[in-house]
């Protein structure tokens, strides 16, 4: 089990966690998590359901407080200097929750106001983003009337509107159509090339494999593997990241599991 990553020195550290722990009632959701992410890196954050990915991101974004340990984002301690840290990151939540009584345009202005963005700049960027995702015509419609994919586009636009240095993306491709997903993946790559740091949480292993040069795998609140997709596969003696992931997270052979499942159903 690895705990602390070393990243190439050319990358100034943008995300650091040291012994990050979150305890709910009797259970540790995240246990002593320590890792770093450098400037311009795209890091895939993987793990089975309940592994602690979202809890970690919630702590890193200041939504919940850690039980112990510390974390910095863009050089600012998320507990002691949360406002400075939050000025520098954007977040796309897994829940996709929005104030749906607002229109798409109003929501982006709402977020821009919370970031103290100039109103004209906010208006220009909001229109650009909505246009990019092909929903500019629906700008004045309430979010209640948007499809799931359209809402996701608004969430992505809201995360990018203040041009953050760090992006926390929790299942960002949820509900996006194929075109929008392609555009968004291209945006991520370009942002990374321009120096933005991206922590990408997802269950879709092929997307993570293609997009993220480095991967952190979490299980039961702890890091169980870290490195490039190839190095993780190599270390586990498997051919693909998918197989390595199954082995590391304790899932039995997928074919065997499916067979047992169908047998239990009497088929």
């Amino acid at each position: 089990m690895m705990n602390m990553t070393t990243i190439p020195e050319i990358y100034p550290t943008m995300i650091t966690t040291t012994g990050l722990t979150k305890r709910f009632a009797e259970k540790d959701a995240v246990r002593g998590l320590s890792f770093t992410v450098g400037k311009g890196e795209i890091v895939g954050f993987l793990g089975p359901n309940g592994a602690g990915k979202s809890t970690t991101v919630k702590m890193l974004t200041g939504m919940i407080l850690p039980t112990s340990g510390s974390a910095t984002v863009a050089g600012f301690d998320i507990i002691r200097e949360p406002i400075e840290a939050k000025k520098r990151f954007g977040y796309v939540p897994e829940s996709g929750a929005l104030f749906e009584t607002l229109t798409g345009g109003e929501y982006l202005h709402f977020i821009a106001d919370l970031h103290h963005l100039d109103r004209d700049v906010a208006a220009r960027r909001a229109d650009e983003f909505l246009d990019l995702f092909g929903i500019l015509a629906q700008k004045d419609q309430r979010l209640q009337e948007y499809s799931k994919g359209m809402k996701q586009k608004v969430l992505i636009a809201a995360a990018l509107i203040h041009q953050p240095e760090v992006l926390f993306l929790d299942e960002p491709l949820n509900g996006l159509d194929a075109n929008a997903a392609l555009v968004f993946k291209e945006i991520i790559k370009r942002l990374s090339a321009q120096g933005s740091t991206i922590l990408f949480c997802s269950h879709i292993l092929d997307v993570v494999e293609k997009l993220c040069p480095r991967i952190i795998i979490l299980n039961e609140g702890s890091i169980i593997a870290e490195g490039t997709p190839e190095s993780i596969a190599r270390r586990t003696g498997e051919k693909t990241l998918e197989e390595a992931f199954c082995r590391l997270t304790g899932v039995r052979d997928a074919r065997e599991s499916a067979k047992e499942f169908l047998e239990a159903l009497g088929r």
Partner: protein, 547 residues
């Protein structure tokens, strides 16, 4: 089991019936106030069963009702006085708190793909409504039954229980019919808006009815015969109340006829109401709700937002305005406060008779007490609103307050500023006209209003001091409003009245005293504002996202 056989006999699947009943119970019990989300237990244990909290408050009302039959001479009128408000309370509960238990657009989405027959669906729904109405009717009416059993014997107490149960069933079924008929005529979303206005009307009925009847009831309980209006016998609860007259041996043609009307009504309502609950009906509701949603274009808010300079204020003003426009529950709450406020203003004007210019007549505690309800309304509206703005069904969207660099304390204080600018000041502006009508001195009106504004601002600061909350960030719990409303209704106005009485007694005597007093109050508000800022910063720093 006998029940299973009975259900099967009527074409109802007993297993599915139980499952649907259990799901309804869990949905009611695990309202957002106590839901468990992703391992995070949201809400406190005391909120675990919101229905129990509601039952508790209705039980208190029931105990108050029990004094009516205890002190009265006419059992039928006593029963009517209890059963009429019971019907209003039950109707209000069914429509507003438990509306989804009758039918909701989500039913079709969830159940249409399951092998549930319409008959089973309807049996489960009717069972839930019957259980709920009987449960709430029990806490409202059983204390009266006990009271009458002790006073007049067990037979009359027993008949009281039958009358109360019949009244509850008729109200429940009547509401189902009304809801179903309204859905047939009005699209689902419009119906939700209509319900908001119905809440206002019901509030008027409850508060206004008690206000108008209180003097008559007082005399009636002292043994004086109460003269009932001509339309009294047209009210269905009066029909059921006449059962008690028969039990007391009053076999007049009118009481027999009214009792018969009650029986016939029940015989008609039970099958008619039940027939309206079906899965195919849920399908049409579901379709109406979806097709209608794309039709309305929101009104622009530029004029409103342009008044505000701080970005946090603009963000919060937009959010509050939009939640009011499109979040039906929030709208209901806001509109529900209006009738109470209006009635207080009305009764304040009635009670005071005339507002004397406090600068000319030396306003003292008696002068203020005469029109106290007018002043009560000043703090009531923003006070309740302050609490309501903290809660929302869309609380999960509040993650933005935790992940953006917006100063959370500034957001909480923005709510206070928005309340002051858009609710308190307009109300004081209207009140200014009332004052001017009586005082005929604009300067005195302005001076008096400045003091009221500062005093009410101080109270609002105290309310935020006690419980600073981010807007729309906490899950809403069933029936939570009752407890807090009671507190605000009692403590807030008392403080305001005390402050005004003190002020008028010592500082309205001459110009210098006024200047000294108003300045002192202004300084106090400024100091409390600084303290509040510090307190809010400290408190919201420890808040965690509830979703």
């Amino acid at each position: 089991m006998i029940l299973d056989r009975l259900l099967t006999l009527f074409g109802v699947d007993p297993l599915q019936w139980r499952a649907l009943l259990r799901a309804s119970y869990l949905l009611l019990r695990r309202n957002p106030g106590s839901v468990s989300v992703k391992g995070l237990r949201v809400g406190k244990a005391s909120r675990a069963n919101a229905i129990l909290v509601m039952l508790y408050f209705y039980l208190i009302l029931g105990v108050i009702f029990a004094f009516v039959p205890w002190g009265s001479g006419d059992p039928s009128i006593a029963a009517s006085i209890v059963l009429i408000p019971t019907s209003i309370f039950l109707a209000s509960l069914i429509l507003l708190e438990f509306g989804a238990t009758i039918i909701s657009p989500e039913d079709f989405a969830v159940l249409s793909v399951q092998p549930v027959s319409s008959r089973t669906y309807f049996a489960a729904r009717v069972s839930v409504i019957i259980i709920l109405t009987l449960l709430f009717a029990a806490v409202l009416n059983l204390p009266s039954a006990v009271s009458i059993s002790i006073r007049r014997g067990p037979l009359e107490g027993f008949v009281w229980v039958i009358a109360a149960s019949a009244n509850a069933l008729a109200t429940g079924m009547g509401m189902i019919l009304l809801y179903a008929a309204a859905l047939r005529l009005i699209p689902y979303r419009r119906l939700m808006t209509l319900l908001a206005y119905m809440q206002m009307s019901l509030s008027f009925l409850i508060y206004g009815g008690f206000g108008l009847l209180s003097s008559r009831i007082g005399g009636f309980m002292s043994g004086i015969a109460m003269a009932v209006p001509w339309w009294w016998d047209l009210l269905p609860p009066v029909w059921f109340a006449s059962f008690t007259a028969l039990a007391a041996g009053i076999w007049t043609p009118l009481s027999m006829f009214l009792a018969l009307c009650g029986i016939v009504l029940l015989a008609v309502l039970l099958p008619a109401g039940a027939s309206k609950i079906s899965l195919s009906y849920a399908e049409s509701v579901s379709r109406a709700a979806v097709s209608e949603s794309a039709q309305r274009r929101p009104v622009r808010l530029r004029w409103m937002v342009s008044l505000l300079k701080r970005p946090e204020d603009r963000a919060i003003a937009t959010l509050i305005a939009r939640q009011f426009r499109y979040d039906i529950r929030f709208k209901m709450t806001v509109l529900g406060i209006i009738p109470l406020t209006a009635l207080y203003v009305y009764q304040g004007l009635q009670g005071g008779g005339k507002f004397y210019d406090p600068f000319q007549h030396g306003l003292d505690i008696r002068g203020i007490a005469g029109s106290s309800l007018l002043y009560v309304a000043i703090i009531l509206f923003p006070g309740i609103l302050k609490d309501e703005i903290g809660k929302s069904d869309s609380f999960q969207a509040a993650w933005v307050f935790f992940t953006t660099p917006a100063d959370r304390a500034a957001l909480v204080l923005a709510v206070k500023r928005v309340l002051t600018i858009y609710f308190l000041i307009p109300y004081l502006f209207l009140l200014g006209f009332v004052f001017y009508y009586f005082f005929r001195n604009l300067l005195h009106v302005l001076m008096h209003e400045l003091v009221i504004l500062l005093a009410s601002q101080l109270l609002l600061q105290i309310a935020f001091f006690i419980s600073p909350r981010l807007p729309f960030s906490a899950p809403r719990g069933l029936g939570e409003r009752i407890g807090l409303t009671t507190l605000i209704m009692v403590a807030g106005p008392l403080l305001l009245l005390g402050m005004l009485a003190f002020f008028s007694r010592f500082f309205y005597t001459n110009a210098v005293s006024y200047l000294v007093g108003a300045s002192a109050l202004g300084i106090l508000v400024a100091i409390v504002e600084r303290l509040l800022r510090r307190r809010v910063s400290r408190k919201v720093g420890g808040l965690e996202f509830a979703g």
